[in-house]
């Protein structure tokens, strides 16, 4: 039965040009929620800093590094680790990923390598979630080519709105037919800041569809680093848990509407 549904496998990427915007916390929490609902989920920690791997207590190390992954499907399979949670696996980061761009540039179809690598995994998983490093690079273009949607965390500021517009323009220009859907959402929101409030109030009037479920900037999320697991896994009632749940619900809703 699963086989018959291969085409329903979804690939999501959490992506931002800027760093430190809450990408990884979002990726690990949404992955946890998806797996808890029954989806076989794989997170690929593409960021050489290895924050997602850290949250799952998995060593950020891949035998043979990014080079081996690109060359040999077996290396990729062998690198996947089960997390503490059922149905949730991780492809860890490796410090060598910082050279990934170079390696991708040397290959045949430099923008389609990720797509090639992920294809066999679609038999095993219902959801593939890519935690991307900041920046815009060949790796990013690989991510754009394979992802059904990009979750883009935005710290409410004029600059981040402008960057989002640039990203949108880039995707429209470079991949007019099969650009991933943009799912921007406000991240690290501080309600006490007037600027945050203003930006968020103005957002609906602009052309960009920003999701309605913001993630607040609060200590609880910061403390995830001490627990080394998704907050959705160990806390039940905290505000952050509600926010991630609401975001995940909205993402599913938007995607199923679009399908």
């Amino acid at each position: 039965m699963r086989d018959a549904r291969v085409k329903l496998v979804t690939t999501l990427a959490v992506y931002s040009i800027k760093g430190g915007v809450g990408k990884t916390t979002t990726a690990v929490n949404l992955a946890y929620l998806a797996a808890a609902e029954g989806l076989r989920t794989l997170v690929w920690d593409l960021d050489p800093q290895g924050a997602a791997s850290f949250f799952f207590r998995i060593k950020p190390k891949v035998k043979g590094g990014g080079k081996a992954l690109l060359r040999d499907q077996g290396a990729l399979d062998a690198a996947i680790k089960g997390t503490d949670f059922e149905r949730l696996d991780l492809l860890p980061a490796d410090f060598s990923y910082r050279h990934l761009d170079l390696r991708l540039g040397q290959s045949d179809k430099p923008r389609r390598q990720l797509e090639r690598l992920l294809k066999p995994l679609r038999r095993e998983y219902d959801l593939l979630l890519l935690d991307c490093p900041p920046g815009i690079s060949t790796l990013s273009e690989n991510v754009f080519a394979v992802a059904d949607a990009l979750l883009v965390p935005l710290i409410p500021s004029t600059l981040s709105i402008r960057t989002l517009e640039q990203l949108d323009a880039f995707l429209r220009e470079k991949m007019p037919r099969r650009a991933p859907q943009l799912l921007p959402f406000f991240s690290m929101v501080d309600e006490t800041k007037a600027l945050h409030r203003t930006i968020m109030q103005d957002a609906p009037r602009q052309d960009l569809q920003i999701l309605q479920s913001p993630i607040p900037e609060i200590d609880e999320i910061e403390r995830m680093g001490l627990h080394r697991m998704p907050i959705t896994a160990y806390a039940a009632s905290e505000m952050a848990v509600g926010s991630y749940r609401a975001l995940w619900r909205e993402v599913k809703l938007v995607l199923s509407g679009e399908w």
């Binding site: 329903l8 799952f56 219902d126």
Partner: protein, 640 residues
Amino acid sequence: MTDIASIEATVESFYKMRQTNSGTAELLVPSGLELHALIDAIDELIPAVREPDVTLSRRFFDSFDWRLFVAGVSLEWRFSESSASPYTAMSLFEDAQPARSTLCWRDLSESDAEPILQPLESEPGLLDEMPAGPVRERLAPLLEMRRLLPMVEVISQQTLVRLLNEDEKTVVRLVVEQNHFREPNAGRHGNLMCRLRLLSVRGYAEAFEQARLVLEKRLGLSVLDEPLAQEPLAQEALLAAGHRPGAYSTKLDQQLEPDQRADLATKQILRGLLETLEANLEGTRQNLDSEFLHDLRVATRRTRSALSQIKGVFPEALVVDFKQRFAWLQQITGPVRDLDVYLLDFPDMERRLPPALRSDLKPLHEQLVRLHAEAQRQLSQALGSAAFDSLLRDWHRFLDAEMPVSKAPTAEAVDLHPRARQAHPSHGPLPSDAELPGQALLPKQAAVPIKQVADQRIRKMLKRVRAEGRAITEDSPPEALHELRKSCKKLRYLMEFFQSLYPRDQIREQIKQTKLLLDNLGRFQDTAVQAQHLREHAESSVNASAGTSANAGANASAKPSVTSASTNASKNGLPPGTLLAMGALIGQLLNDQASARATFSDVFAAFDSAENAKRFKTLFATHDLCASAESARDKCGMPE
């Protein structure tokens, strides 16, 4: 990469993937070992975290005749009593509601195949009552008309323990399962073995091996040779509950000895049939599904056939009495079976009609369902009657009685009569006492070796089938084919009763040849019967409507019988559209019948071929001196 190279790479990686995933070991926990003590002992050697316990109830289902078990499938309906219910979402776009209860299909021939799940709120039963879904889809071709029955329930208390590495990361999972079984009908219950399953976490194969070694070498637990629990657990529970999975069969498989006394061998056959009959009684009474009654009727028909076809082995008066009483059983079970067949064929009948006419049949269906309910009520009553009770009691007594060794008067023949007479007053008078002394002597064939009787009877019936078949021409009336079918069935039953006396492959071949002929005759007959039923239905419906209009003007002092007739009329009246659709169906059925009739001569010619005759002859040839005696015996054989 070329295509072939990429395929190879995929296959290779798949293989590796399976290797990294394949870590599962199942261990037996010695009884009496305290769970806490075990977990503490493990924790001393490997850091471990115990999760809250989960209680899981699973009911294993199968049909009465073990269709799923035979097909290598296990079906469980599970419901979790804790909040940690299993989710069954399979894609982002499904609503991931936790299902409180789930139907779970496992293909036992592929031990590493994932189970197929379908949420199901209430216990499964008949296919028609089950919502569409992946499990129902797989069940349909196996189960057909049979009902799923709860065979055994297993209540498992699962304790999950996570084994950790130095980063306090889970690297191995350990599930301790304390199982308890409960048999839903008889209420039998008890404990099953305590099982411990060690599950690898992907990418931590070494930790898994270490944990396995610790449990085996340090804690002295033994690893089961064949891990993967479901099948052994289901089987363990079924056996503990007193089931014999796969044991039910309606096949005639009595093992007879060629030189066994004919009366004893015949009793053995009859006892097997009685066992089948009784096994299906409760299901028939409750109308669990239509197969119970069907199997009960087949056993009855075979019993009657054995009584009349295996001639001269029991006292005649007794045979006459039981034949009559089993005929009664066949008769009271007839109406429900007819309606069952009607209803089972209904979807097929609808398909025969052009789509535009199909909905016109609905009133007929409703009427059949009503009639079925009424007939079933009467049947359940008849099966609870004193007449039926005494039939079973007398039959048991007869089959279990010792057979006379010499030609002395048979005790039970004399013994039984008063009871039989009392129990079944509706019968005609039994043979007068004046006949008894002669009957009471050991019947002619009783002490003859069964093989000899079998050879004779089969040859005789074969001869009759041939004669009747050869006499049928293009112009023969339907009754001629009907008679041939009856003889043919007798031949088939005889061969089946006695099959253990002949080389297996050869007798099966002859049974198969006979079945081919029977299939043709059956198609001819069944379509005729269906058409006839439809016609009768239509006629009674029209008559009933006529009755209604006539009664409309009748005055209020009408007799009660008239009133009841008019209620019947409003029930039986079918709208004209339905009658027309039935007419179209009758046309279709008669076409079918005609095509069966057209192929008859070819089918019979194949049966009557020289080759087939030779095979029959080799199997049932006379090997002894009784050939001449045979004709004499046959003359005094009883009428059928």
